[in-house]
């Protein structure tokens, strides 16, 4: 018996160690770079010392501590790792399309650390992505915030464990097409979308009350109160109401954006970020006043009707109206040149360098609730860094090295052609994809709802 308890104690100890297993953390001294901190100016000929994954010092002429590798970045630019607030890379599935509300599902259960898209994002300077549920539901699943620790084989190791919970919402064409048109149930219209939200949150309030009543009753002596049935879906909605989860809402039209702001106000929900937000520019003051901002495309429009009345000046208008604005990809290709997408805000609206770069670093970090940890080069922050040849906002810029927690995961000089970590044992010949629509995953896994090839074609929409 005693032996068994020793054994159990050891087992518990081991599993605790396993649970607390450290993801790789590196130390490096990057010398003589033009350091673009984003939040605290740009400094020429400056060194950045990283120790154990944390930026320790930003100053000229830092001496390398013993055993710390030095990288000469003379003539090059160092900027914070790029953060994509809307992505579907490294996910095995994207949509659980079976109900208008599927708040209970979690993307962290389908994270795929082997996906080559992670490496390709690193090669574009992207160190973090927000792995989102698709847009088939008014309330979709809970997202995962990823750190691109390429080479990790445990999904848990590429999830940023200290990031807050976020959840996907979606308004407009996608949920109304999937449920209204595809399945003949609410919502078929933007009226129905609002109803789904209000009904869902009211149900969650009742659920909360049922539990509160039970908890109050069960603490009474001799209580015979029976616990309400646990419901993960309603519990998640209740967590949103309690401010424990940040909503990231797929949205396009100004009216639906305005609607969700009103719903959020009515239910006291404060943590709200709009995604895509193509017509956000029309309600920029309202978004600025109430929300955590908007994450937008640099210039995508006209691929579907609800984005026909878009403008490439959207990000600039939002920013100038005081909205925290980020530029995202939603796309396995675009994620590789977000620095270039950010630069488009200079062509369309004359953003300054810092304003443009903030849109792919500190602003998405704010929207993901991690701006105290990442998103700028500051002493004490996690050392997610990129070295560029050429200014990152130049269309000729080429990312050279990408670091996550001080560990170098991409180096253009030692890049090897084939970076796959897992080669399919069942596919004899590697498939060649001519129109790789991992690019268009927002509606992935809803194909079964649409029978014609044409519908399939039009599903490749964000």
């Amino acid at each position: 018996m005693k032996k068994l308890s020793y054994f159990l104690a050891a087992l518990v100890g081991l599993s605790m160690q396993y649970a607390m297993a450290q993801t790789p953390k590196g130390s490096v001294l990057i010398k003589n770079a033009t350091v673009i901190t984003v939040t605290n100016g740009t400094h020429e000929n400056t060194d950045v010392l990283v120790q154990d994954g944390i930026v320790k010092k930003i100053a000229p002429d830092i001496k390398a501590p013993n055993g710390v590798e030095t990288i000469d970045a003379s003539g090059k630019y160092l900027m914070p790792g790029i953060i994509d607030a809307h992505s579907h890379i490294a996910l095995d599935v994207v949509n659980e399309a079976t109900a208008p509300i599927v708040a209970e599902v979690r993307m962290k259960d389908v994270v795929n650390p082997y996906e080559i898209g992670i490496y390709r994002a690193l090669a574009g300077g992207v160190t973090m992505s927000h792995a989102m549920h698709g847009s088939a539901n008014v309330v979709g699943g809970q997202n995962a915030t990823l750190k691109h620790r390429w080479g990790s084989t445990d999904p848990a190791d590429i999830i940023m464990q200290d990031a807050p919970r976020t959840i996907k919402f979606a308004l407009g064409e996608n949920p109304t097409r999937v449920h209204g048109r595809g399945r003949g149930i609410q919502p078929r219209s933007r009226m129905g979308v609002e109803a789904i939200l209000r009904n869902g949150f009211n149900e969650a309030l009742q659920y909360k009350k049922a539990w509160a009543d039970f908890n109050a009753a069960s603490s009474q002596k001799g209580s015979t109160a029976v616990a309400p049935q646990y419901n993960e879906r309603l519990q998640t909605l209740a967590d949103i109401l309690d401010g424990k989860i940040i909503i990231h809402c797929h949205s396009y039209r100004a009216d639906e954006i305005y609607m969700l702001i009103n719903v959020a106000k009515d239910f006291g929900i404060k943590k709200l970020v709009f995604q895509h937000t193509n017509e956000g520019f029309k309600v920029a003051p309202e978004i600025a006043e109430y929300t955590m901002g908007a994450s937008v495309f640099a210039d995508w429009w006209a691929y579907k009707f609800e984005v026909y009345y878009s403008t490439a000046f959207n990000a600039a208008i939002l920013q100038k109206n005081g909205v925290i604005t980020s530029i995202n990809s939603d796309d396995a290709e675009l994620i590789r040149h977000l620095y270039h997408e950010a630069a488009k805000t200079q062509r369309y609206g004359g953003m300054t360098d810092d304003e443009a770069l903030a849109m792919i670093t500190i602003n998405p970090a704010k929207q993901l609730g991690v701006s105290d940890k990442v998103g700028s080069i500051e002493e004490g922050k996690q050392a997610d860094l990129v070295i560029f040849e050429g200014h990152p906002l130049s269309s000729y810029a080429i990312p050279q090295m990408t670091f996550v927690d001080g560990v170098k995961y991409f180096d253009i000089n030692s890049d090897e052609d084939d970076q796959r970590q897992l080669v399919s044992a069942t596919e004899m010949v590697e498939p060649i994809y001519l129109h790789e629509e991992t690019a268009h995953k927002c509606m992935q896994d809803t194909e079964y709802l649409f029978e014609t090839a044409e519908a399939l074609f039009s599903l490749n929409q964000h």
């Binding site: 920029a284 878009s310 890049d415 994809y433």
Partner: protein, 433 residues
């Protein structure tokens, strides 16, 4: 009283036009032609080097003069001190004007029913008033090839200038019959055909192409001999490739398909262009040896294979160009053809070099379409398709200051810009709900 009524009505009628006018505010700016002098710029001619402190005179839709001491005369003068002039960019492959909103089938006119429809004319379906036209041209893209999609021979592509009220006014003088070479690649993740099925389908399609080609040859030879053949517009159109009147633009992407296409055109006496050519870098020497020009893109694209280097698509154009292939760049887009300069910039950065990349969106496509005497460079006598910018228009932050197409000064406005003007500072703002 009756008379009074009548005269009162008459009075009211005279007011009508006044009321009608009173309801319209602001002035609509149209493209305008005229004599324009672009004074004192740095002129990147593409074919004849870079000329500092140089002026360009536009007259009758043409580049009338290039030099340093051109007298303005009665020309409207644009001071271009500190600015750069480049030829308008040419996108060698788009569906601009054929597709308005991709997911709304009623607005998609790029695909016809049928496998053999070379007589489908893209030019017919071009919407001169597409919102995407003014959105595109203010970026400096002045000319695009608009291409029908779909079957084995889906139709005939047309080169258009992005100004004009009718397709004919837009037509830039070049067409090409399009062929989609039987493909061994997958169309996407949802394409779950077995490797065997794909191979069989592509062999069958190739056999069909061969038969059609042989028939077109007979059609051409018989009509040359004066035979009166039955009405067969598809064959008549393909016969124009046999006769050399039109080139055949072959869309082909995987390495083995490119090799197949090169083999297919071997010994055929016609003008050929390869388009797409995503895996051109794998067989660049063979393409160069065959001497077939290539229109490749998009450059900002994923590699075709998981095992490929991340920059395979970025570097493709440069690798082919270095191997000696004549390479033009396309976006293969509709609403975002405006990004052509950025595709070219990525090609430049990843091995092609700026000079070659500039050619790939100007003189090279002009050459490929047989219009090098009219388009693709800043030279006297050429069509006045010109852009004036604050700096290298490939740079994202560069601002395009003037665009001229066919000698028309293009208004630097479009719906994107108008929405910016309206909403940058919304009024009423938060104060009034």
């Amino acid at each position: 009283m009756k008379r009074l009524n009548k005269s009162f009505f008459a009075f009211l009628l005279t007011l009508l036009p006044m009321f009608a006018m009173a309801q319209i505010d602001g002035e609509f700016v149209k493209p305008r032609s005229g004599k324009f002098l672009l004074q004192n710029a740095t002129v990147h001619t593409i074919t004849k080097g870079v000329l500092e402190n140089t002026s360009v005179l536009i007259e009758n839709g043409k580049i009338a003069q290039i030099g340093s001491g051109i007298s303005a005369g009665d020309a409207e003068v644009f001071d271009c001190t500190g600015l750069v002039i480049y030829p308008g960019m040419i996108d060698g492959g788009t569906t601009l004007g054929l597709v308005e909103v991709n997911s709304v089938p009623e607005t998609v006119d790029s695909q016809e029913i049928g496998n053999f429809t070379p007589n489908m004319q893209a030019l017919t379906a071009v919407n001169p008033n597409s919102e995407a036209v003014p959105v595109t041209r203010v970026s400096g893209v002045t000319t695009v090839l608009t291409v029908p999609q779909g079957g084995l021979f889906p139709g005939t592509a047309a080169l258009i200038n992005l100004v004009g009220y009718t397709p004919d006014q837009m037509y830039a003088g070049a067409k090409a019959v399009v062929m989609n070479f039987p493909s061994s690649g997958r169309r996407g993740r949802w394409d779950r055909r077995s490797d065997d099925d794909i191979k069989k389908e592509s062999e069958k399609a190739l056999k069909e192409a061969n038969e059609l080609w042989d028939n077109a040859k007979s059609y051409y030879e018989l009509t040359e001999k004066g035979a009166e053949l039955e009405y067969y517009p598809e064959m008549a159109q393909l016969a124009k490739v046999i006769s050399g009147e039109l080139p055949l633009m072959i869309e082909v992407n995987t390495a083995s398909d490119i090799q197949g296409a090169l083999k297919w055109i071997e010994g055929k006496n016609a003008k050929f262009i390869l388009s797409g050519v995503s895996e051109g870098w794998r067989v660049a020497d063979e393409i160069a040896k065959a001497g077939v020009p290539v229109i490749t893109g998009p450059v900002q694209a994923l590699p075709t294979r998981q095992s490929d280097r991340y920059d395979a698509a970025y570097s493709n154009a440069g690798k082919m160009s270095k191997a000696g292939v004549k390479v033009a760049i396309r976006t293969d887009d509709q609403e975002n053809v405006r990004n052509l300069p950025f595709h070219a910039a990525f090609a430049a950065a990843y091995g092609m070099g700026k000079e070659e990349a500039w050619k790939a969106v100007t003189i090279t496509p002009a050459e490929i379409f047989g219009l090098a005497d009219q388009l693709g460079s800043v030279e006297q006598g050429k069509v006045a398709n010109l852009i004036v910018a604050t700096k290298d228009p490939f740079e994202t932050s560069s601002q395009v200051m003037h665009v001229f197409i066919n000698g028309y000064r293009i208004p630097l406005s479009n719906r994107h810009i108008r929405l910016y003007q309206e909403f940058l500072e919304r009024s009423p703002g938060l104060n009034k709900n």
